[in-house]
Amino acid sequence: MADLLEFKNLTKVINPHHSLRVSGRVQEGKILMVRGPSGSGKSTFLRLLARLIPPDGGKVFFQGQDWMQIPAPKWRIMVHYVPQKPVIFAGTGADNLHIPFALKTVREKKSLDYNKLEHYCEALSISSETIAREAQTLSGGEGSRLAVIRALLLEPRILMLDEPTAHLDSRTKKKVLQVLVEWLETEPGRGAILVSHSEEDIEDIPAFTVLEILSGDEG
């Protein structure tokens, strides 16, 4: 399988006693499972790849191209990050789904695909009433699923999800993972990075590799 993303010695000093240094790759059609104890730097790793924080060293390549040759806004759509506590903006659920498509970088390339929206909502049990509600009144689980739908509609090349199933019951967890796997398989050239503590998650994912981030000083 072809490599989509490759990171070599990607380094970040988290605190004077702990540095993150990781190497690995994300392959087409596969999920890279990121595992490790709390505070080991899993979220930092995703934030590094999203170029939200600068690394202290290392190199990243997307299909052989140095990541710094790609403008940051374009990169963040291609390698899209959904944080553990997704940000829900004021307005309705629908407003939240439209926000990315109002941005110039996104607007120039794509518009919201309503067929896909309907499909993802159905697959993740988000009703039209939920979408029409004030987003601030959504439960943690509904908010998480809304954020996953928003991310999928952006059609990134690599989707990075930080514990997307943390607030969900086991049935809904399975649905989210099924949607993710289906999204990976629908079109070539897609990959995903998933931070998860759950053993259950691994059972639902057919093709994955594991990146183990250790606690303590790895530098």
């Binding site: 999203a50 170029r51 939200l52 963040r76 959904v82 940000v87 903006f89 941005l103 970088t105 952006l154």
Partner: protein, 264 residues
């Protein structure tokens, strides 16, 4: 009708100081401990105003642009330093950026008003230039301080939202655009409010001064209108400029929020 001003004699001026005693009595009665400040404030106001009276009289006589220019720049610097002190949430010293915003907006709007509207001869007549630029600076100083402080408050409080927008592919400007709008509006609100109530709730200081100095009230009103519109334009421009200059400093060269901003 013949308009003329009524002079204030030295004894009348001394008598006005008696009014401070009234404020002093309130302070003493309520044990506010403000007597030293009140005394010092009165002395300073008297000395500063007397001094500026002599300076202005000298400038009006000399009336040379090369003398006026450094004085106006000094006024801009003092206003920028004062605005900088009021901007409490800035991660860096905002004096320089305040100076650029204040001097640009003041020179642009002030020059339009002096050259195109009031049109004295010569155009740099100190009697017109100094008060006009001074009034613009005094009001813009408050506006830009309010705007920048509001921008930092909003950015610190909504760092997660800004980062979320960045992950959607927003440019730094797109990520903070709404917050910047709120900040500019916050800086302009006092000016807009004063436009709404002028003549109804209060008579502005400049107009009152001109009327007391013997000017026809109709003419004083015209001057006041021009001054208020000029202040509104300068405040809007100054507020916009300071947030436009400052928002970029919130981001790294790679269009991410600086860690110092996120952790604030």
């Amino acid at each position: 009708m013949d308009y003329s001003y009524i002079p204030i004699s030295n004894s009348q001026l001394a008598f006005s100081v008696g009014l401070v005693l009234l404020a002093g009595m309130v302070s003493a009665f309520l044990k506010l401990g403000l007597l030293p400040s009140l005394f010092w404030g009165t002395c300073r106001a008297f000395l500063q105003l007397t001094l500026i009276g002599y300076v202005l009289a000298y400038l009006f006589i000399i009336n040379h642009f090369l003398l006026l220019l450094p004085i106006i720049l000094l006024m801009c610097y003092i206003a920028a330093r004062e605005a900088g002190k009021r901007i409490t949430k800035s991660p860096h010293n905002p004096t320089f950026i305040s100076f650029i915003a204040l001097s640009s907006s003041t020179f642009l709007v002030g020059t339009i008003v002096v050259v195109l509207i009031i049109s004295p001869s010569p155009w740099y007549t100190a009697q017109v230039l100094i008060p006009i630029f001074g009034m613009i600076l005094g009001n813009s100083m408050n506006g830009i301080a309010l705007s920048l402080d509001r921008m930092y408050s909003e950015v610190y409080g909504k760092a997660d939202q800004i980062e979320a927008l960045l992950t959607f592919g927003a440019t730094p400007w797109e990520a903070v655009r709404d917050l910047v709008k709120n900040a500019v509006a916050a800086g302009m609100t006092p000016t807009i409010n004063s436009l709404m109530v002028v003549g109804l709730v209060s008579l502005p200081g400049m107009m009152t001064g001109q009327i007391l100095a013997g000017m026809d009230p109709q003419m004083a009103v015209r001057y006041q209108f021009v001054v208020m519109i000029m202040i509104a334009a300068a405040v809007a421009l100054g507020c916009f400029m300071i947030v436009a200059f400052s928002f970029k400093k919130l981001f790294t060269g790679d269009m991410a929020l600086k860690e110092t901003v996120r952790k604030n």
